[in-house]
């Protein structure tokens, strides 16, 4: 199983800096997801890893060996494309055996490999069809079979599921993870869908504007994102901006807009520091008791039915508009009703206020 290492990889297209001095390691046998909004340079990065584009500068090592001089066709890898690109004039089987065919393998071996990979993706019964006769999901499975037929230990997936319906997407996500595990591959998977990244990968790298923002396991990124950008891009968050006014016994008092105050764990911040407090919608509580601690008053402005939960849109006394997700069994509130929002400090994320401003720091580009 190959281990990949990028060193200071940079790619320019004219004046545009698509990838900016990226260092990245992918361990042997690891399933890595590269997650970022569109235009962040993640596809460029993966094309550089695969050898489709050369970087402007920097190194790409596989098992410690510089692979940049090696042409795309001589790299040992399987590549799955976002827009599928099955060869339309070849059948599913011919597509799947394209790799062995162009490498001049004997017919018996082509036959065996074709059978194996089509079985893996469960397409044997459609082997004689042309790509145009398949559903989108089956097409991408066939493309996956074609990539696997190269029998390489490195699988590169460039937004493999974005062109598919949501149901099919979830199903294929599961199959991908299973296959990579079973075959013992190293996989690099690019996506803009945070749910996909979290559910499929061992480790997720978050990219923004050509740079890596943060990396970690899916749980780390969701529960304790170090960067405020990640806290918003992975999952959802409610942000409250304020300034520390007092500090006492490991707690700080934060002054919010509208002369509202909250006491929260200090997180290393001192009086006068501008901070941002963040809670995910599902960690907030909505009640009617004004005497409870760590609460802010607000008014329900609307409700959105999410299926398993009910989302309340609440306008706080600070002027901020936040989302509170409650189970359906929870006590109900009416629109325009006054309510008390409870902010449990245990679930809070605390950040210093970004110097470029909160809106700028959360922007996707």
């Amino acid at each position: 199983m190959p281990r990949i290492e990028l060193r200071q990889v940079t790619k320019r297209f004219g004046d545009i800096l698509a990838v900016d001095r990226v260092d990245l390691e992918v361990a042997a046998g690891e399933y890595l997801a590269i997650l970022g909004p569109s235009g962040c340079g993640k596809t460029t990065l993966i094309k550089i890893i695969a050898g489709i584009w050369p970087p402007t500068s920097g190194q790409v090592l596989v098992d410690g060996r510089d692979v940049l001089p090696i042409a795309l066709e001589d790299r040992e890898l399987g590549y799955v494309f976002q827009n599928i690109v099955l060869f339309p004039h070849l059948t599913v089987k011919q597509n799947a055996t394209y790799g062995p065919w162009v490498r001049g393998r004997p017919p018996q071996e082509m036959e065996r490999v074709g059978r194996e990979v089509l079985e893996l993706v469960d397409l044997l019964n459609q082997a004689g069809f042309f790509p145009g006769e398949l559903s989108g999901g089956a097409q991408q499975k066939a493309a996956l079979a074609r990539a696997l037929a190269n029998q390489a230990d490195l699988l590169i997936l460039d937004e493999p599921l974005s062109a598919l319906d949501s149901r099919v997407r979830v199903e294929l996500r599961y199959q991908l993870r299973r296959l990579v595990r079973e075959l013992g591959l190293t996989a690099v998977h690019v996506t803009h869908d945070q749910e996909e990244a979290l559910s499929v990968a061992d480790r997720v790298v978050v990219m923004r504007a050509g740079r890596i923002v943060e990396d970690g396991t899916p749980r780390q990124l969701y529960e304790a994102p170090k960067e405020i950008f990640t806290s918003n891009f992975v999952g959802e968050n409610n942000f409250l901006e304020g300034v520390v006014t007092r500090r006492r016994e490991g707690l700080i008092q934060v002054a919010l807009r509208g002369e509202q105050y909250l006491w929260v764990p200090d997180g290393g911040y001192a009086p006068e520091d501008p901070v941002v407090l963040a809670w995910r919608p599902e960690y907030l509580e909505l009640g009617r008791d004004p005497t409870a601690t760590n609460t802010l008053p607000g008014r329900v402005e609307g409700e959105i039915f999410l299926g398993s939960e009910l989302r309340y849109v609440v306008r706080l006394a600070t002027g901020d508009r936040i989302f509170v997700d409650l189970p359906l069994a929870h006590e109900r509130f009416k629109v325009s009703e006054d309510a008390i929002v409870e902010f449990n400090p245990d679930n809070m994320l605390l950040y210093g206020r970004p110097y470029e401003g909160l809106g700028e720091a959360l922007k996707l580009e």
Binding site: L72, Y79, G99, W101, V102, R103, N150
Partner: protein, 577 residues
């Protein structure tokens, strides 16, 4: 309502718009377009086929006075096809790498090469034939002192000079049409193939080429048709190397005559006072050549179409090591260099060789009055023909793409292409016969007939271009405009038209330049009575009284004017985008 507020400035204008958008009016317009197409383009094109029956006595009479005529016709048509097929194959071999290079590579100066390739298209083929023959050929009627520097003087046979000439006239078409379709093929297919372990060569031949076969068929048909139908260049080149002559005393033609050369020769003889006695026989001979060429051109079209749909991947076996070796290092460089060398040696230098000749040769007395008149006449005919093409071709294209059942659509599509592949000289004969037999009283003006002929063979350029653009356009765009309250005409004018304008302009450029450069159809319809610029150039090369200086001057001036017009149109098209 918004559309009306903007468009209908005055009540009169709004009412006119409403009227023009009414169903019967639009239907009438489409009906008119179709009627014109059938009566003035398609019917005359195929009319000559009936002549075999009606003109049978004349044919017999021709064979009596010129026993060798049948053999001459057969030999000429055979020569035409030999030349056309060889030219097409060689064009493909060198055109593919060049098209590939122009589409897939990002190199500075690419747009310059693009313009350079197009330039020979602006030169009338009669001028090109002269230029090519001066460069390659043995020139018996040129005084030694006037031999231009760099002239090779190698070729003395008609076959070779015609092959060389047609490289010049067809290679730009081949590269253009291959590049246009290659542009449409997603480069990701090649990337996917290479990521699966295919070398560039393997990827190209197993993936891109099979996807590309319709493009190759289109290019091949275009080149075949062009090589088969050119008259002016053929006559000019053959005359210059002394392999084309007409004898008014016996009313016969001799030399290495191809099909169109024979048409040119007999058309000229038919117009001469000395040959009025055998005019009917010459007409019969012309009709015979035309019939053979039309039928064989249609047959060839069918064969190429069939081949393109039936063709499979050549050599299913893969030789990975060899193909890999051929994909790297020196081989691709040699391939690219040789196709550039071909472009320079076989296309560019022969095209512009004339300019050098003009600089060194001594001026000869020239009748500039006739010359300017001929240029004005050429532009007048081309202008009117292009205008008619536009008025009829755009609705015709809309009709093909947006109306009717798929079957009607396919039939119309093929019918429109018929004048495309039929040699324009044969088309001219057909048109002449058609109107001659109709016996209009008074016999329609020759200029009018020539213009009609020019419409017939330039019409497909507009239709094809606009059909291509419309097919790439989402009909939802116009439907959206209609849903916002735009009348059909407004929807077209405000939404569709701006989007297909570049294609219309491109089609107009092609039609115009093609008309300016046309010799065969003009000769076939009017003999030498209507002297357009190419006819004038051909007449200047007459071995009895050659004026090479004037021919070169006329060609260069025409070259400059057409090139300017082309660059201007190209600039306009670019700005419209």
């Amino acid at each position: 309502m918004l559309g009306e507020g903007q468009e209908g400035g005055t009540p009169l204008r709004r009412r006119a718009l409403n009227f023009l958008s009414r169903r019967p009016v639009i239907a009438g317009w489409y009906g008119g377009v179709l009627t014109y197409f059938f009566i003035f383009v398609l019917l005359p094109t195929l009319f000559v086929l009936t002549y075999i029956f009606t003109g049978f006595p004349d044919i017999l009479s021709l064979l009596r006075i010129q026993p060798g005529a049948l053999g001459q016709i057969g030999g000429a048509v055979l020569l035409s096809y030999q030349v056309a097929i060889i030219v097409t194959l060689v064009d493909l071999v060198f055109g593919l790498p060049l098209a590939w290079f122009l589409v897939r590579r990002r190199v500075p100066g690419k747009s310059f090469v693009n313009t350079l390739i197009d330039l020979p298209l602006a030169v009338p083929t009669a001028g090109l034939g002269f230029s090519v023959a001066l460069f390659w050929g043995v020139t018996p009627f040129l005084m030694a002192a006037d031999k231009p520097f760099g002239a090779l003087g190698l070729v003395s046979t008609g076959f070779v000079i015609l092959v060389l000439l047609h490289f010049t006239t067809t290679f730009p078409y081949m590269v253009r049409s291959l590049a246009a379709i290659l542009e449409e093929i997603d480069i990701e297919y090649e990337t996917a193939a290479r990521a699966s372990g295919a070398s560039r060569l393997t990827a190209a031949r197993t993936v891109t080429l099979p996807l590309f076969r319709s493009g190759i068929a289109t290019g091949a048909i275009l080149v075949l048709a062009k090589a088969l139908s050119d008259t002016g260049g053929v006559v000019a080149a053959l005359t210059t190397i002394g392999r084309f002559s007409t004898d008014p005393a016996t009313c016969t033609a001799s030399g290495d005559l191809s099909g169109t050369a024979l048409i040119g020769a007999w058309s000229a003889l038919r117009g001469m006072a000395a040959c009025q006695d055998v005019a009917a026989e010459l007409t019969a001979g012309l009709a015979l050549v035309a019939v053979i060429m039309i039928i064989s051109a249609l047959g060839l079209l069918a064969v190429v179409k069939l081949l393109s749909t039936r063709a499979h991947i050549p050599f299913r076996r893969i030789f990975p090591i060899w193909e890999r070796r051929l994909s790297r290092g020196a081989v691709p460089k040699i391939r690219d260099l040789s196709s550039f060398a071909f472009l320079i040696l076989a296309v560019l230098i022969p095209s512009f060789f004339l300019i050098g000749f003009l600089v060194i040769t001594a001026p000869q007395p020239t009748d500039f009055g006739v010359f300017y008149l001929s240029i004005a006449l050429s532009f007048l005919i081309a202008g009117i023909a292009t205008a008619i093409d536009l008025a009829l071709g755009v609705p015709m294209a809309i009709l093909i793409v947006r109306r009717g059942s798929p079957r009607v659509k396919r039939i119309l599509d093929v019918l429109v292409s018929v004048p495309y592949v039929v040699p324009s000289a044969a088309l001219g004969i057909s048109l002449f016969l058609f109107f001659d037999q109709l016996r209009f009283a008074p016999v329609p003006n020759l200029l009018f007939l020539v213009t009609l002929a020019h419409v017939a063979f330039t019409f497909p350029f507009i239709v094809r271009n606009v059909v291509g653009a419309l097919e790439g356009l989402d009909p939802a765009l116009e439907e959206t405009a209609r849903s916002l309250g735009a009348k059909p005409l407004q929807g077209f004018r405000r939404v569709t038209f701006p989007l297909i304008k570049p294609a219309i302009l491109a089609g107009a450029i092609m039609a115009f330049t093609r008309s300016v450069g046309e010799t065969g159809a003009t000769l076939a319809v009017a003999g030498t009575a209507i002297v357009t610029a190419p006819v004038f150039i051909v007449s200047l090369l007459d071995p009895a009284n050659p004026n090479y200086y004037a021919a070169a001057l006329a060609t260069v001036i025409l070259m400059a004017v057409s090139a300017t017009a082309m660059l201007l149109m190209r600039y306009l098209a670019w700005r419209a985008r």
